[in-house]
Symmetry: C2
Subunit: 345 residues, 2 copies
């Protein structure tokens, strides 16, 4: 391994000069600078990150702003786990992470948590920008301090994000449509239940639906698709009655649930004893997996939320410690999960 010392010896200068050249610090004549740079290149020397972090003895604080993992929505416990795992791996680099969580259906709690985070004066931020308007307002504080931030899971546009980590929602809808199409005859009918609570904030729900529909428009326009608005997902009776209305007199062949709540629809299908309806949903939460395993749900599209969290922290750590500029986008794979491969995830 080539070290700074080696370079210094070859270049007939001291390690201090080499250090100055490497970090582009002032106090080196143009002549020696070029000379040292040449030798660095020749030996394709690279800084030893290990020694560097040790010497720097700097510590970094990463703030994490994500929804709390509630019973009704365990989705966010996955990124949390991924973040914790990554934090564990890099803690020797003196990077600490602090969580700020909020109720993903309550914009006020989002604002509170966000403000707490801003007050914490972090070196970098990993966040799920669930609420658009509130994000626009508060993120100016981060911009002002030049605090780098990465969006996770939700790809809001028009911000100075360092990077986005998550799925391309339109494409994932497209994929769901493909899966649905191989399962259905050409003259089938599909419904898309949309829970109203999701509609407002989560633009990716809409993107998924658009992607889904665009597939059939292009490839199999003979298939009818209908949206069904459902006011909330707390009251099973309401869900049932709305769906009952729509099922009556019609034969529905497929249901596409553009959110992680496909289990609610599965529950309905089971109690209503409706069989031979193909069901595709999102995310591998416990209930979804249960219905996947008993064949009520055919496919789940998984966002790999664990990986999203893990990669988010890793990205920021690389950025902070090694000054490594990330890509603007890291699209997580759209993993298709079935009864048969669910255990490997």
């Amino acid at each position: 391994m080539t070290t700074i010392k080696d370079i210094a010896k070859k270049a007939n200068v001291s390690t201090g000069t080499v250090d100055r050249v490497i970090h582009n610090r002032p106090g080196v004549s143009e002549k020696t600078k070029i000379h040292v740079q040449k030798i660095i290149e020749e030996h394709n020397f690279q800084i030893n990150t290990i020694a560097s972090t040790l010497a720097l003895n700097k510590s970094y604080k990463i703030g994490v702003l994500i929804p709390e993992a509630r019973v009704e929505n365990e989705f966010w416990s996955e990124p949390k786990k991924g973040i914790e795992k990554a934090a564990e791996e890099i803690k020797n680099f003196r990077i600490s992470t602090s969580f700020f969580t909020f109720d993903q259906f309550d914009s006020k709690s989002y604002v509170t948590a966000f403000k707490d985070l801003i007050a914490g004066d972090f070196d970098a931020v990993l966040m799920a920008p669930v609420f658009h308007k509130e994000t626009s307002q508060l993120i100016t504080h981060l911009d002002k301090e030049n605090t780098p931030y990465v969006f996770i899971n939700i790809d809001l546009q028009g911000f100075n994000t360092l990077s986005f980590i998550g799925q391309d929602s339109f494409k994932s809808g497209h994929l769901a449509a493909k899966l649905m199409s191989v399962m259905l005859a050409d003259s089938s009918e599909i419904i898309i239940p949309v829970f109203r609570l999701n509609k407002g904030n989560y633009s990716h729900i809409n993107d998924r639906i658009t992607g889904f529909k665009s597939f059939f428009k292009e490839k199999k326009s003979s298939i009818k698709i209908k949206d069904i608005a459902i006011p909330n997902f707390k009251d099973l009776k309401v869900i049932s009655s709305i769906l009952d209305d729509h099922m009556k007199g019609r034969t529905i062949d497929g249901i596409f649930v553009p959110s992680s709540r496909s289990f609610l629809i599965a529950e309905y299908l089971e109690t209503a004893q409706l069989e031979n309806i193909r069901l595709i949903g999102y995310d591998t939460n416990e209930k979804n997996i249960q219905f996947l395993k008993n064949d009520t749900i055919d496919f789940l599209i998984c966002q790999n939320p664990y990986q999203q969290g893990f990669n988010g922290i890793k990205l920021l750590s690389d950025y902070l410690v090694m000054n490594k500029a990330p890509n603007p986008n890291y699209h997580s794979p759209m993993t298709i999960v079935t009864k048969e491969n669910v255990d490997a995830f």
Copy 2:
């Protein structure tokens, strides 16, 4: 952060003693040992890996034994890339990797490469045990030297492997069958072309077939499945004539190719102008992707070979540097790849 110094101060001993306690080295009285251990626990002190590696100044050599990435089989270029990426990430830990490649259809070249590797006196080995008998014979040399080795991609049983990284082949066959079954009517007929060259060495090909058949036996026994032996995959004419024979007079609805050579079958289907035949294969090589994109291949099951290579090296590095014992198995996810999500991989 708590350091060895801090512990030493609290325990009223020197850092040397703390070091001896941490590494369980001799030369510490039972009394002080317990005392120091208690303080270590109280402060839940953990060694700083960064400083540790720097101080140890030890270097490790990992030998990698995998098939060469040939034009006819680009599969193995993926693990190679993964390995190189991981090697890059950990090179500051003074870990070097050396490749020993062989022709995956020539056991002699395997033996030669393996012997070269053994002569290289490596600290750990990552290998694809393509040939069973030869592996049994040569691996004793590694066992004798207590050199840890990890199997990648091929899960040979009965060896002292530190870990296996790869897919559960039976399950992946099962998964392929599920995908096939959603696409086919109940009275369909499926063929499984098996290239003879694969048969002998690669036990996972057989496992995939077994998994595939077991699904239909359980779930849809009305569907007929037939194996078709194909002597090699060099001569397209031979392949065509054999398939022609089998297609004649019959309606084949689905083809399951249990290897990465589904593109050969796709090529046949296109030239023979056979449409409406569902085709499922393995691995995202360039040609397969091409046929996936033009809808000749419906699904590919991906082994994430890049990840396999990457994780293999990471695992060994964790084992060597941090003495972290790995799981006996890391089953890579069975990723379903379609035209719609292929770009994300």
